[in-house]
Amino acid sequence: MTATITRPRAEADPAAPQPKSRKPLGIDRRPGFLTYGLLIAFFIGGTYPLYWSFVAGSSPSSVLTDTWPPLLPGGLFWQNVGAVMDTVPFWMSLLNSVVVSAIITVSVVFFSTLAGYSFAKLKFRGREGLLVFVVATLAVPTQLGIIPLFMVMKQFGWTGSLGAVVVPTLVTAFGVFFMRQYLVDVIPEELIEAARVDGASMIATFWHVGIPAARPAMAILGLFTFMTAWTDYLWPLLVVPQNPTLQVALSQLQSAKYVDYSIVLAGAVLATIPLLVLFVLAGRQLVSGIMAGAVKG
């Protein structure tokens, strides 16, 4: 049941043969070369900058002065990677990013599911008003509160520690709203009532009915929360410049007076690999998550 809900309806289409009667109308006809030509153009446009970074990142910096960009990668990638590691603490920053993003993801997903379940399925006084509040805060740019946040972190002596990076994003209004929108349709009232009649406490009902039903949405929310935490730059740059996350370390490759672009690009490629791996493993879920989120609005 849940599976059909998570996927946008088109996902099921390719397997289903189109009824013959439709063909003469030209609606679902197989498209021609123009379409595939455009698709290939989009593909090249999306991947060429990355490929070119790899080419330049694996060559001596002199290739950048060539009139025509080289088409094939050189053999210096590992040497350039070595230079990256000499310049910035790559492994430490990678570990920092993993820790920070993982903590934020677990926290956001858990608290969002809990609050989203309550908003979707429990009845309490003030529910509508509080939900409107959550929706209203969706558009609030909390990033603009960095000045007092920074002062507080400094006061507590947290600057430099990963805790300072994590704390401001432990919960998001978007997560709560997203889980609420998902759960409101997915769990039948009867299921909750049945569990209650059986004598399960509220938290046991949440655990045995809410969480299993919420799992697909939790995965999608987790994926996007992880991506957002991983790509964040402004706040980590402020609080942990000396104990950097990956993005901060990456930006430090460039801060010298003279910028050696083949090393910078090798670093950019290297730092993209973890997310490319994630993309290969979970790209399908990313696509359906974006498409499902759009339908929900």
Partner: protein, 365 residues
Amino acid sequence: MTATLTPPPATTTPPPPRRAPKDKQPFRHRLSRFDVKASPYIYIAPFFILFGLVGLFPLGYTFVVSLNKWNLLTGPAGFIGLDNYVAELNDPFFWNSLFNTVSIFLLSAIPQLVGAVLIAAVLDQNIRAKTFWRMSVLIPYVVTPVAVTLIFSSAFDEKYGLINNLLASFHLDPVMWKTETFPSHVAIATMVNWRWTGYNALILLAAMQAVPRDIYESAALDGAGAVRRFFSMTLPSIRPTMIFVIITATVGGLQIFTEPKLFNPTTATPGGPQRQYQTTVLYLWDLAFNRQNFGKASAVAWLLFLIIVLFGVLNFLVSRRIASTEARVSKRRMTKLLNDHNQQKTDRAAQGSLAVIAAAEEKRS
């Protein structure tokens, strides 16, 4: 699925309290009632407490700071009312940053929307290997903004950049991407567009697929060609989603920071030697953490906050209008369903809910 068909839970009977020993019942009962009453609040409390502490309180306190003379090192040095706001509204650098932000935003939002609609329209056809092509337009999204900026900062380098090299090979004059205002805005907008166009295309694609296919069929029967169908049917139906995309892009676009910050690291002032591409958040950052003027930086934060909230309210109004239209449609659908439902024998309905309860039982064990 079944949930849509179930009648409102008026038929539910309170769980009969039975067989419990009489002396234990009141306490258990009271405990259970407390559980029912308090749990909803306990579940939403962590969100509200944390969000209040790290989200709303800092924003509110920013306003307090903005009313004071306040330096990073010396701390608060006296209440000065709205002087910081007056100073900022008279500061050409503030207006310059706002101009740059809006200019970069327009250069990214418009091409991005056109590109996203085009990509979505292509993907909306009956193509082979759908999932592959959909995933392929999302590849730029997994490159982080910092990495994107490093890559494009190299490509737009004035002396040895890929793009000026290519221009030179066609005997064209190099473009001063990092020192002239308009080219630098184009360069920064390109970074944003590259990363987000495919993402937005997927959102629009979902909207396009929600358009019922039979409408297209009847239009085709009436002799409307593919182009005609696209402009007079597809585009109007996805308009709400396009507005959604525009407004989210606005809220994000007005806070752009990473790209201008890292575009050219060799300049002393962030955002170009003459602040050619210094955006408002970058200006705020420079004011607060380089020039250490927290008071003025907080005033800038609040001015930007008000601008963004203006767009947020717009967002709310637009989406509420969309929602009320949808609600009307679904209400009609719901009435129809309920009518159908009432015609059925009640015992069939009872059977249905029994099945759900049985399913619940199965899941629990």
